[in-house]
Symmetry: C2
Subunit: 307 residues, 2 copies
């Protein structure tokens, strides 16, 4: 609490040009977070790197934050893009075994069939319809209610402190881009992910979506994708425990020449969300080895969902 | 001139909240441009799409502009990244025939040898040294003096009117990212280009540059790269005549659902810059067919270089 107050005072001192901001920062920026060590670490970090003149100060242009999507900023049971795949396959009348019984190749085939063969514009409309018409099968709410409220606050807090925030998804970028602005306030060009190859259909002047995924999607690939899209290491990286998909993104940020921060979300709250573990435990092992912050949904979050 | 005045009045009318901007817009935003039809088209376009309430208005978040780099915003004789390749190959003691005698494969091999095998961080340092130490071989000035002054003004003018500007280069993004901010005011994450494959070197926590170019670099690929990086079509696209490398980027922007603008730079000024033509004339053919604005360096630009 002292750190928060200090932070509020600091900002109030700096913001003489923008008096309308004073009210905003004087209140707790993370009300859905419990006052645990995790919250304190975040606020301490943001405070120290924003302090002009200190040797830990990071220039605005280098305050890059990257967030994984599934299981980090919204619920991933089921993985939303796979659920979309199922809904589309039904609309298209594709017969198949239940997705949970399928092997990787079968899932990939179904994924490609439901995501390609149309223009980008048509695909965008399909995704828009899905998010408008379909509800989360377990939580029975529209998908904008399956985002994690504490993470919305964290993203807002970072943005207010000059961070440029990217979503780095294991799914395809085009899927998340349809809702990133509405759900998270992140513009589509700040979504990084995999994608399909394209073919230029000139008489139509459209990009046709071809049945070939362009990139692998997780692990090391997240670092490659960040390098390709941004060209610098993030200083703040957030991922979650499930498949080890985010470990290289967190590790990559740890190589920044600036002070940096890694946060790993642990799904340990069966009552309010879902509890699950990783087969090989690699994410938690790396977190321990490299001293990342581990977030317990159960202990660190006061509320999880928006309502 | 009337359009300019009207524009200034319009903006002055809108900017009651930011009185310090009045002075800026009351002056000609494009002083290095002659008062030709090309300049008028640009100003008319920017004016109409910025006019709140009009049916041609474009929301700020969709004002995306894409500029090719070589020959569009700086001189491409020689192509700067190829000249860098030559300088590096000498530093590395690589024996080879003169680049102008080499075939494509030989050039590509030399390119790969001078650009890979190190970490991203080392490569960035090499590029920084090059731009600090080496001068343009014909113009005999540092490379920041080989940018086109009128284009700097155009980019500034667009930025002041809410455009987000991307450089879409035929070269590798990492090369341009080192100077994009200094030379053009464009942050590195708004540079789109090709790149090399990477390998995660974990004990070192670095991305190693692998000897394989990841993507083709021009023509249709520019549209694919824009789609992948931004996820929406630009409304303002600028390229140049040399190899047809920019025609799909301009065409892609023409499929935007918003009013859009295409500008093709023609190198017709042997006295002040370089005059050259395209073998198959495809860029000018498309410009004619699709009614793009053709910019004559000779007639449309009052000055070309910064000094």
């Amino acid at each position: 609490m002292r750190a928060l107050l200090l932070f509020a005072l600091l900002l109030a001192g700096c913001s003489s040009k923008e008096p309308e901001k004073k009210k905003e920062v004087a209140v707790d920026p993370l009300p859905s977070w419990n006052n645990t060590a995790t919250k304190k670490s975040i606020v301490d970090y943001v405070t120290k790197i924003s302090k002009q003149g200190s040797k830990e100060f990071i220039p605005m242009e280098d305050r890059i934050a990257t967030f994984d999507n599934d299981g980090t900023i919204w619920a991933e049971t089921p993985v939303v893009q796979l659920f979309f795949t199922e809904v589309q396959s039904q609309d298209m009348g594709l017969k198949h075994r239940p997705i949970e019984d399928m092997n990787k190749k079968e899932i990939n085939d179904l994924f490609v069939k439901t995501h390609t063969g149309m223009t980008d514009e048509s695909f965008t409309r399909e995704v828009k319809d899905f998010f408008t018409e379909v509800k989360h099968p377990q939580l029975n709410v529209p998908f904008n209610k399956t985002v994690y409220k504490p993470q919305l606050e964290l993203m807002k807090y970072l943005a207010q402190n000059g961070f440029k925030i990217y979503i780095v998804t294991g799914g395809t970028a085009d899927f998340m881009r349809v809702v990133s602005k509405d759900f998270y306030g992140i513009p589509p060009e700040q979504v990084i992910g995999s994608g399909f190859e394209h073919r230029y259909d000139e008489p139509r002047n459209s990009l046709m979506r071809e049945p070939k995924l362009e990139a692998t999607q997780a692990r090391e690939a997240k670092a490659y994708n960040i390098q390709e899209a941004i060209g610098k290491r993030p200083v703040f990286a957030v991922g979650n425990v499930r498949s080890g998909g985010d470990i290289y993104m967190l590790r990559y940020s740890q190589g920044s020449s600036y002070p940096n921060f890694q946060l790993l979300v642990n799904h340990d709250d069966a009552n309010r969300e879902f509890a699950y573990q990783e087969k090989d435990g690699v994410s938690l092992l790396w977190a321990q080895k490299y001293k990342w912050n581990i977030l317990s949904m159960k202990n660190d979050w006061k509320t999880i969902f928006p309502n």
